[in-house]
């Protein structure tokens, strides 16, 4: 009996050692494709910086399409999108971790790094929208607690800290391995690993601390994640605008965010698997499971959408009617129904077919969901502003309909590039799959895991 376990153990150990070595490959070496990709992201990012500079130095009437009626544009809708995206950390890692969905372990780091990047650049997204970004610190020196913006800032910062720790702490055992295994790396990089590993030696106490931190964070992150997105929904719901005047908003936003989160993890998993050749670890079975999650979450999201649209549509009061008609059959109708189709119906129905649960088709579906989710935020924010209580009169024609300007699109693209760059560079410095967590999930003991990291 005992012999048998050791045999199984050694097979497992061999597997993890192989995995361990393979996971270091992308860190050890960056191929041509990777270099082009990183270079491309840098270009888009700098174009965004340049666009932002132009916007700040020239008249905003020329550079961006905002006006006194549509005073929030794609910067704000994009901010909402990023906040939604960041919720993936709460859902995927924390919820699944706490509910013992063991299958999820290899994906947790992908989800966490997406979450950290998203929440970080959601913050940047707000700053580019401000009239006086340099006065940002007023929020601290003159902040007033009753403003939902202050609530949002507080929860976003807390969530950012919590998700960063949630990403970092499980990384500590891995980092100590890195400094032992990587070759021909610049001094500063080795030095960084050394510092970041916080003199990890794998003692039982250290393991205990790490485990306890992870559990506490996993619990903390759920209410935090729910708060950030609920409060972000309140930025809209707390105004008197009829289109946003909905008690459904918090839950509606959260449901949408969960769906988006799963879609984003599918996309992330697909590309890491493909370009880092991790097929062995990120197997088809994950896509199968995540496809099923898509179906479930689309159903939940559909339910909140029904609440959001059907009830006001039934009443058709004069505050809502113009806006609803514009969305159902009027000038926003095409976008509205496309978003419904790709954002809810496609992910709810297609993965029901077995053939759609394969990596390729599911990733295509997931990409569509992500794009639809971006536009969903757009149609929540922008048409919500174009139907005020009092008529819009005596203003330039361009004020009555908003189309984002090139500068705005460039800035948003820059923010996207920066977020992707963060994720890419992270995966170039740290393993994107947490080996010890996977090993632990398979029942390997901590001493064995320690051995694994010692092997040089």
């Amino acid at each position: 009996m005992k012999n048998e376990t050791t045999a199984v153990d050694s097979v497992l150990m061999n597997k993890y050692e192989a995995m361990h070595d393979e996971l270091l490959r992308p860190i050890q070496k960056t191929g041509l494709a990777g270099k082009i990709w990183i270079g491309f992201l840098f270009c888009v990012f700098f174009a965004g910086v340049f666009a932002f500079y132009t916007q700040e130095t020239k008249s905003k009437y020329e550079t961006i399409s905002l006006n006194n009626y549509t005073m929030w544009g794609i910067y704000i809708s994009n901010f909402v999108f990023f906040v939604a995206l960041s919720l993936v950390g709460a859902l995927m890692s924390a919820v699944l971790k706490l509910t013992n969905f063991e299958w999820y372990r290899p994906l947790s780091r992908i989800a966490e790094v997406i979450a950290v990047a998203a929440i970080m650049f959601a913050g940047v997204g707000i700053i580019v929208a401000m009239g006086h970004p340099e006065r940002l610190y007023f929020l601290l020196t003159h902040g007033r607690l009753q403003s939902p913006i202050i609530w949002d800032i507080v929860v976003i910062i807390t969530y950012f800290v919590a998700t960063s720790l949630f990403l970092f702490i499980p990384l500590i055992p891995g980092i100590s391995q890195l400094s032992n295994h990587l070759k021909d790396k610049p001094k500063w990089q080795m030095w960084m690993y050394k510092k970041l590993s916080l003199s990890w030696r794998g003692t039982p106490e250290q393991w205990k601390i790490v485990k306890r931190c992870i559990t506490i964070l996993a619990i903390l992150i759920i209410p935090l994640g729910i708060s950030i997105h609920t409060v972000t929904a309140w930025l809209f719901a707390s105004t008197l605008r009829a289109e946003w005047n909905s008690t459904n908003f918090g839950a509606y936003f959260i449901a949408g965010a969960f769906l988006l989160g799963v879609a984003a993890v599918i996309v992330g998993t697909f590309f890491f698997r493909k370009y880092y050749r991790f097929e062995k670890y990120l197997t088809d079975s994950y896509f199968d499971k995540m496809g099923k999650m898509l179906v479930f979450l689309s159903g939940v999201y559909f339910y909140f959408n029904i609440n959001e649209y059907l009830v006001p549509a039934f009443k058709m009061d004069s505050m809502h009617s113009q806006y609803l008609l514009d969305e159902f059959t009027g000038k926003d109708a095409i976008l509205f129904w496309l978003v419904f189709l790709f954002g809810i119906f496609v992910p709810a129905i297609l993965p029901l077919f077995k053939s759609m649960l394969k990596p390729w088709p599911l990733t295509v579906i997931a990409i569509l969901v992500v794009i639809a989710a971006w536009f969903k935020r757009y149609i929540i924010v922008i048409p919500g502003l174009s139907h005020p209580y009092l008529p819009i009169q005596n203003v330039p024609h361009s004020w009555t309909h908003y189309v984002p300007s090139l500068i705005e699109c460039m800035v948003v693209a820059g923010i996207f590039a920066a977020a992707l760059l963060f994720i890419t560079l992270f995966s170039k410095f740290f393993p994107i799959i947490s080996v010890w967590e996977v090993a632990e999930g398979d029942g390997v003991s901590l001493e064995k895991i320690n051995l694994l990291s010692k092997k040089a």
Partner: protein, 317 residues
């Protein structure tokens, strides 16, 4: 029954008092008659008089300035901090009599001129209103409502917009971070944003900024109708009130229960009763400080100003 007579009696005495009360507001009304001339003096292109005087600046430096500028300083000397306190014992109220409006737009022009506003941002809008197809159209001037439960103030994260004890809601552009949440929150489309360097900045360079008069404007901040507290402080009427040729606007003080449009001074409560005053979208719970009198028994028939409108649109395009 007896209660009613008592009420009536009370009303009578109040009416009797109204004249005397108005003497109190006399400064107000008198200020008004000269307002035209006075304002012109205070605000028109100020010619240097050549006379110099020595004054102490806020930084404690002694400088020599032309007397013409001294006057200006008198007009506005309330710092952003002081402007957070209201004018003591006042509660401003405005009444807009829709039956007198003929879309002369004098209010708007004078507001734009004296606040040095560029073409795009309009503080006082005049809407063509028509509730439904079968109801009559009418003109509706719309300043900031200076809501007593202002949604804009509620949402401002840095207290750049605030409600004062005298009812006025102001914006301090030295504090505003430009998040525009207040614009999203205001249900009356009152607020404008300085999307670019204010066009007429040169006219106001060197002026001390005060939230009480709203200039010099600052790019990246929000601005709106302020009820002209700088004028109210001096016992003068706001620009729109003084400029309207038809006496549409009445400005007054709730604590004295009087309002005046410059020509006549009335008891506010009586006016509301007699003419069925109402507030705009009161259903939203914003408690506006601006009251409207319905457009009945109008002084002027409703007429679309064809030429003017297209002119404006052209300019705006």
């Amino acid at each position: 029954m007896s209660q009613k007579t008592e009420e009536n009696n009370e009303k009578k005495t109040r009416e009797d008092n109204s004249r005397r009360d108005f003497l109190k507001l006399g400064v107000f009304a008198a200020g008004l008659t000269v307002a035209g001339a006075g304002l012109q003096k205070a605000f028109s292109e100020e010619k240097e008089t050549g006379e110099k005087v020595k004054v102490l600046t806020t930084e404690g430096k002694v400088v020599e300035v032309d007397t013409a500028h001294i006057k200006k300083a008198e007009v506005c000397c309330v710092s952003p901090k002081e402007s957070r306190e209201g004018i003591p014992n006042k509660k401003w109220v405005m009444v807009i009599d829709l039956s007198r409006c003929k879309h002369a737009l004098k209010c708007q022009h004078s507001c734009q001129k004296y606040h040095h506003l560029s073409g795009m941002n309009v503080w006082l809008k005049v809407f063509k209103m028509q509730e439904s197809e079968n109801t009559a159209p009418y003109w509706m001037p719309k300043p900031c409502m200076h809501c007593d439960r202002p949604p804009c103030v509620k949402v401002c994260p840095v207290s750049a917009t605030y409600k004062r004890s005298d009812g006025i809601v102001l914006v301090d552009n030295e504090r505003c971070v430009g998040c525009r949440f207040c614009m999203a929150a205001c249900p009356y489309s009152t607020r404008s944003f300085n999307w670019e360097e204010p066009e007429l900045l040169s006219e106001t360079t060197g002026e001390t900024y005060s939230p009480e008069r709203g200039f010099p404007q600052k790019r990246g901040t929000v601005e709106k109708c302020d009820f002209c507290p700088d004028l109210l402080r001096q016992g003068k009427l706001p620009h729109c009130v003084a400029a309207c040729p038809n006496g549409v606007f009445y400005m007054g003080d709730m604590t004295e229960d009087t309002v005046t449009n410059g020509d006549e001074t009335l008891r506010f409560s009586q006016l509301m009763k007699d003419k069925s005053g109402y507030r705009l979208n009161d259903i939203l719970g914003t408690h506006p400080s601006v009251y409207y009198l319905p457009p009945v028994n109008r002084l002027f028939p409703f007429k679309e100003p064809v030429a003017e409108n297209s002119d404006k649109e052209k300019k705006a395009e």
